[in-house]
Symmetry: C2
Subunit: 202 residues, 2 copies
């Protein structure tokens, strides 16, 4: 049943998505609450009533983004049994995320809170933790490939993880600088070539 009281005239989930796109594009500190409020199309008190404050809203946005992230690159990483396929699908899923949105590009986890004032360091830390968690997932995937006997003995999961994290983050920054999807895919091919010498023949 509908709750008592005047009903909201906007959709909360839609509003959150709009807020995500703004933060994605302009980062935490680069975004003002006025930007958010304008994007949602409501007035300040309605937005504050729905989301609390800027910090809480950003936290929700990060959660939403992380969910999309898990459904994309992370799922791609862990779906394929072959490590070569897994990395390829994963990188390409990243490129989709970097270039797929209208307005926003690159990666919110990487660019939305790099340099914050001391009172907002929490966001810098939480995004850094998410990135570290993702690196952990990459590492686990390479270790699984070792356990599965898919990689040669001289393959080093730690340094492969670091290399591919480098490529992913680098592509994100290039995308922020306007790189086309095609040029990102070119870089992706080079990056995938690095893994080939370590793949055992099937």
């Amino acid at each position: 049943m509908a709750p008592a009281g005047r009903p909201r005239t906007f959709d909360r989930d839609e509003a959150l998505k709009k807020a995500m796109l703004v933060f994605w594009d302009k980062g935490f500190e680069g975004t003002t609450m006025s930007d958010i409020i304008d994007a949602i199309g409501m007035k300040a008190p309605s937005v504050y009533a729905a989301f609390g404050n800027k910090d809480a809203l950003f936290d929700e946005v990060v959660q939403l983004y992380a969910g999309i992230f898990y459904e994309g690159p992370l799922k791609a990483l862990n779906s394929a049994d072959d490590i070569g396929d897994a990395i390829e699908h994963c990188l390409k899923a990243h490129i989709e995320m970097f270039t797929g949105q209208e307005g926003a590009c690159s990666c919110l986890l990487l660019t939305a809170a790099n340099n914050c004032s001391p009172e907002h360091q929490q966001h810098v830390v939480s995004l850094r933790n998410l990135r570290a968690g993702y690196k952990g997932a990459l590492l686990a995937r390479f270790k699984r490939a070792v356990a599965d006997g898919q990689l040669t003995d001289d393959a080093n999961p730690e340094s492969l993880t670091e290399f591919y994290a480098t490529c992913i983050q680098g592509m994100a920054m290039c995308s922020k600088d306007g790189a086309s999807k095609k040029s990102l895919l070119d870089s992706c091919e080079y990056a995938l070539g690095v893994l080939k010498p370590f793949l055992k023949k099937a």
Copy 2:
């Protein structure tokens, strides 16, 4: 001869370096003038008298940083005649810059002004232009290598440029996340391996 008037009690060049380290670490918007003023160890009016305002100071900092940049990675890129050596020296010079400073790390051109409020977009643009200029230098270097007959016919200067720009920016971001010099050098080796198939035997 000394100019008339009370002499400055701090060294302007030293103060500029200190300001650079703060901006390098915390970015343009993440840095307050109080941070700068504290780092320099003077009071606000002295700093403003010496540097104008925050925008002008940041511009000077960027100039200073660009100078260091030209002396490091860019010089390394253009000093060696062999393209393999050039890229290797260049990447390693980047790693030195990413990890060499106390306090600051990563790359000021990449991280100091990603997400600015509209009234400071000038800095986002100027750093983006510097990055684009650097990509141009990379491209020119690869084209020179083609002209010098150092690369195979299937080597594509544009996509090689994009790939190495990706690696450099990726390493910068990893360094900001605390990557060790050793792990950056590991990634660097993988990245250099990408060029090898395109190198003609001497």
